[in-house]
């Protein structure tokens, strides 16, 4: 139902987005992103958290103004919030003090649609989306799935040309999400919704493959379009279909390949500014050990396919990738082409007892995590062997945003504590070398 000759509804050209850093300079969130959306298309923006895909969605809707570049929607350049687009939110964003019906009428009311027409359209949308009988309920009385249906009804009732969806199913449990996806795809296929195209943000690879005609895979820091993938599998699609599995595998490959490259970049340089500011995901030692044990155990015996292990552990790619990347950073594992393989040190870690594990972890952290090595060195150099949190925070802020700086320090504290490299006193906000005796 779509072709390259369908009218262009949306076009974004070399969009950039950057935020000022605490220590001067900018943190680039989006870099030179091009995007187009034709009538009849479902396009997914797929990427890890921090890849700027949600920011892009908000730029397209006019909620955020890009630092540079331009967006044209329905033939009009975007300036402020645009007409003809409506958004479905990850958190539903329903007003708890309005009933289901009032929530659906919300957008129409703001537009000043006459009351009878408003009621008529709202009831039609409620009917279409399967909310009959819930009209007078308040959001807190109904389940998450029903709430998101309200979110859908509220968006389509204004008859938008473009429906924007920001991870619409990620706050729902697996079963509910599947039901809503199926219902949505059915309505879309039958052309019953008063919308012309869909732009969706997701971090769930299977969801993207299931729903989209095209997938733009984003890389992180800064956000860029790493790859554009056309999905030609006919609808309705089955997850068990070999071509479906092959495509999921391919996307896993694209996403790990990129991150592997990035990790090498940061490891190449020594303890430079970029090194200590390298983004450290908040991953706990238990998660690291858990993933290594899963990969080490049968049937994988040290080498596993990432999609397979994600399914086994019931994890989203978005949850799995950070853990796998930290393992790679610490030289406990290697990532390549959608596979994870334990190194010799990784195998030794799995076989070791608690204290030996901690020693291994400490060794690897000091060798491969610049921020941890840096904190340790500063503490060693000081006669008191103490240093305040703020000392490192200010140093990091020269290289990154305050938020990232805090996140990195929190991660360093967690790993430092586990490896007994240094301790941290939350009351005094300071690092030190001694542990309470």
């Amino acid at each position: 139902m779509m072709s390259t000759t369908s009218p262009l509804l949306l076009q974004a050209k070399s969009v950039c987005q950057a935020f000022p850093k605490a220590g001067g300079g900018e943190v680039v969130v989006l870099e030179n992103v091009d995007l187009s959306l034709r009538q009849g298309e479902v396009v997914s923006l797929l990427g890890r958290s921090g890849s700027g895909k949600s920011t892009l969605l908000r730029i397209v809707s006019g909620l955020i103004k890009p630092t540079s570049g331009g967006v044209v929607v329905n033939g009009q350049p975007v300036q402020g919030c645009v007409r003809g687009v409506a958004m479905v939110f990850q958190s539903f964003a329903l007003f708890p003090w309005l009933t289901v019906l009032e929530n659906v009428e919300f957008g129409l009311e703001a537009l000043g649609v006459p009351e009878t027409e408003m009621r008529h359209r709202a009831l039609a949308a409620i009917d279409l989306i399967g909310l009959d009988g819930y009209e007078s309920a308040y959001p807190k009385e109904i389940s998450g799935g029903m709430r998101q249906r309200v979110g859908f009804a509220r968006a389509i009732v204004v008859h938008p040309n473009i429906l924007l969806m920001d991870e619409p199913f990620s706050a729902l449990d697996v079963l509910t999400a599947e039901t809503l996806r199926t219902d949505f795809l059915e309505l879309w296929a039958e052309g019953k919704m008063p919308i012309k195209s869909v732009l969706m943000v997701t971090h769930n690879i299977e969801e993207a493959v299931l729903m989209s005609d095209r997938i733009l895979v984003f890389s992180s820091n800064p956000g860029r379009v790493a790859s554009e993938i056309r999905v030609d599998i006919p609808q309705p699609r089955s997850r068990l279909d070999p071509s479906f599995r092959a495509l999921v595998d391919r996307i896993y490959g694209v996403m790990t390949q990129k991150s592997a490259g990035q990790a090498r970049e940061t490891l190449g340089g020594h303890i430079s500014g970029a090194g200590i500011a390298m983004i450290m995901p908040r991953v706990s030692s238990n998660q690291l050990a858990g993933l290594m044990e899963a990969v080490a155990g049968p049937p994988y015996n040290g080498k596993a396919d990432l999609p397979a292990i994600a399914t086994l552990l019931q994890m989203d790619a978005d949850d799995l990738f950070p853990i796998a990347e930290v393992l790679q950073l610490l030289h406990f594992a290697e990532l390549a082409e959608g596979d994870i393989r334990l190194t010799d040190i990784g195998r030794r870690f799995v076989d070791a007892e608690i204290d030996a594990r901690k020693r291994l972890f400490a060794e690897c952290s000091l060798a491969h995590v610049p921020l941890i090595a840096h904190i340790k060195r500063v503490l060693d150099e000081r006669p008191s062997h103490r240093a305040p949190f703020s000392r490192f925070l200010e140093e990091l802020e020269d290289h990154t945003t305050e938020e990232h700086a805090r996140q990195n320090l929190r991660a360093a504290i967690g790993w430092g504590r586990y490896g007994e490299i240094f301790s941290y006193d939350d009351d005094g906000d300071s690092f030190s070398l001694e542990n309470p005796t």
Binding site: L63, P96, G112
Partner: protein
């Protein structure tokens, strides 16, 4: 249960302290200017018709009504002020920098101290009409209610969830629609809770502000407060009893008819997406919501509100200001700060000049000494009240059945204006010839100690069951149980109550350190008595000095002591 809401609106935010340097003299300076104006028009106002208040019990319902209406008027004024001031502070960064510290200072100024200025100012505004003293009384109540409400609203506006904000923008709501559709509803639960707390405090001030003597002028407004004042002058303990009864009825009626329904109704504005386990109920609200007649009667109003809500107030399209081309934002900021600082300096100078004209350094030393005495009194009383009410509150709070009926009583006692009971205390002190410096002190905390009790009850009720079970499982009891388990658990709640009690006590000192019974006057040493005496004498410089010193003490105590404890408790001891 909801205890901490009160303080979360007052103290959780650490204000930019340097702005206090401007805000304190600014607020006090404005007061000084008012005082100067008042001083100049101290000419007798014979035209003011004095309605003689009589001790006839038959008049009490009428007086009670008048008092109630005054409260309502003040509440309406506070609400209006809140919506405007809070919205302004939340939406303009530059306004915020000055408005919020001012609010913080206003909260610390002893309200009872400046009734004497405002009454003269209002009488001048409405010459020859009882509207003057009426407005002054309403204003006094307003000043006891408005600040924490405005804080609450401001805080709510600052914490509006991002997704709702985006939904509003994405669906093209105008600023006016957004205000009524998102901002006011979102702020509603906190606002109503703070209104209720304000009301509690307000009764105390309405009683104190109905009969005021400034210099040789006495203004008496018909109301429960003047009724009590007359009873005191006539040494009629029976009449005091009747007044207490009337007050009781009024407070219960207010609670049942106004606040319970409001609280129950506001429940739907709570942002948590899960339904509360125990939703507040109100029989009045049920009645109103279920009544067809009411529904019918209200429907025109409803549709009017809907129309108003839909109205797109055209946002004034300001032409791009040419000024901005040659004024960089940094320079504009700088000009703004400089302007504000200049006004602050002018205020400070006016204040200093006003006081210096008739008072010397020794007066300042005297006021500081007296302030120290009152400070010691407040601290000792808070400690004593804590020693009594924390164990009691914990005991009650851990027994849900008892807490269920004890909690409303404690809240009621907090609302009851303790000044109605002062005569009883005076009679006892006179009878037994007790030391006034010691025995007048408990009156300061008579009305405010209940805040400690009901917050501790709330804390103990909310204490997680699993932690209780762990303590029992490890057989932890006695002193260890108190220090390791329950006291840290209720600490945030206790701090909330103690802060409210401390603030209220400072204010109360103005009416408790000097108390009369007929022709007998009992006097304790302290800053409160100093201000009260200056008020009676119409000595404006001394009133100003007293208020300035007391504000200083309150701010120092809040910043140096309470806020630190509060931050500690927020950081370390929050259980949720």
């Amino acid at each position: 249960m909801r205890g901490p809401l009160v303080v979360s609106t007052r103290l959780s935010r650490v204000t930019p302290n340097r702005w206090d340097v401007v805000a304190v003299p600014l607020v006090l300076g404005v007061l000084a200017v008012i005082a100067v104006g008042a001083h100049q028009v101290a000419a007798p106002l014979e035209v003011l018709q004095k309605t003689p208040v009589s001790l006839d019990v038959g008049n009490l319902p009428d007086y009670a009504l008048r008092t109630t209406l005054r409260m309502l008027a003040a509440l309406a004024a506070s609400l209006f002020f809140t919506l405007v001031y809070g919205a302004l502070a939340a939406k303009s960064r530059r306004a915020e920098l000055i408005l919020i510290p001012i609010l913080d200072v206003l909260q610390s100024v002893p309200i009872l101290g400046f009734i004497s200025f405002t009454i003269v100012m209002f009488i001048r505004m409405f010459p020859g009409s009882t509207l003057g003293p009426e407005s002054a009384a309403v204003f006094a109540i307003f000043t006891s209610q408005a600040w924490n409400m405005a804080f609450s609203f401001y805080q709510s506006l600052r914490t509006i969830p991002k997704d709702l904000d985006e939904a509003c923008r994405g669906f093209h709501l105008s600023a006016w629609q957004r205000f009524w559709r998102l901002e006011v509803p979102f702020a509603m639960p906190g606002l109503i809770w703070n209104m209720m707390m304000s009301m509690s405090g307000g009764w105390f001030f309405v009683v104190a502000s109905e009969a005021i003597s400034v210099g040789d002028q006495t203004y008496t407004l018909p109301g429960i407060g003047s009724y009590v004042a007359l009873a005191i002058a006539d040494k009629d303990l029976g009449a005091v009893g009747w007044a207490v009864l009337a007050m009781l009825v009024v407070i219960v009626a207010y609670d049942q008819l106004l606040f319970r329904p409001l609280v129950a109704w506001a429940e739907k504005f709570r942002f948590e997406q899960t339904a509360a386990q125990i939703a507040p109920k109100s029989w009045v609200l049920d009645l109103l919501q279920r009544s067809r007649f009411i529904e019918l009667a209200l429907s025109p109003a409803g549709s009017l509100i809907r129309q108003a809500r839909r109205f797109r107030l055209p946002a004034p399209k300001l032409p791009a200001m040419p000024v901005q081309r040659w004024l960089s934002p940094a320079l504009t900021d700088w000009l703004w700060y400089a302007g504000v600082a200049a006004i602050g300096l002018y205020g400070a100078w006016r204040l200093f000049d006003f006081i210096r004209a008739s008072l010397g350094f020794s007066d300042l030393v005297q006021a500081l000494e007296l302030g120290l005495i009152t400070l010691v009194r407040v601290l000792i009383l808070i400690a004593l009240a804590s020693a009594i009410w924390v164990p009691v509150g914990v005991w009650i709070g851990l027994r849900p059945k008892i807490a269920q009926w004890a909690q409303p009583i404690a809240q009621f006692l907090a609302a009851f204006p303790a000044n109605l009971l002062f005569p009883v205390a005076v009679v006892v002190i006179v009878r037994f010839d007790l030391n006034t410096d010691i025995w007048l002190s408990p009156l300061m905390i008579l009305g405010t100690q209940w805040y400690i009790l009901f917050n501790v009850i709330a804390g103990a009720t909310a204490f997680p069951n699993d932690l209780k079970e762990v303590a029992a499982n490890f057989d932890m009891r006695g002193w260890k149980w108190w220090t390791r388990v329950i006291l840290p658990g209720i600490f945030p709640y206790y701090i909330t109550g103690a802060i409210t009690a401390s603030g209220g006590s400072w204010n109360a000192s103005i009416v408790t350190e000097i108390v009369a019974w007929g022709s007998t006057t009992l006097r304790a040493h302290g800053l409160g008595a100093y201000i009260a005496q200056a008020t009676t004498a119409g000595d404006y410089p001394r009133i100003m000095l007293g208020i300035a010193v007391m504000s200083g003490f309150v701010i120092l105590l809040n910043r140096g002591f309470w806020r630190r404890l509060y931050v500690l408790s927020e950081r370390r001891l929050r259980l949720d």
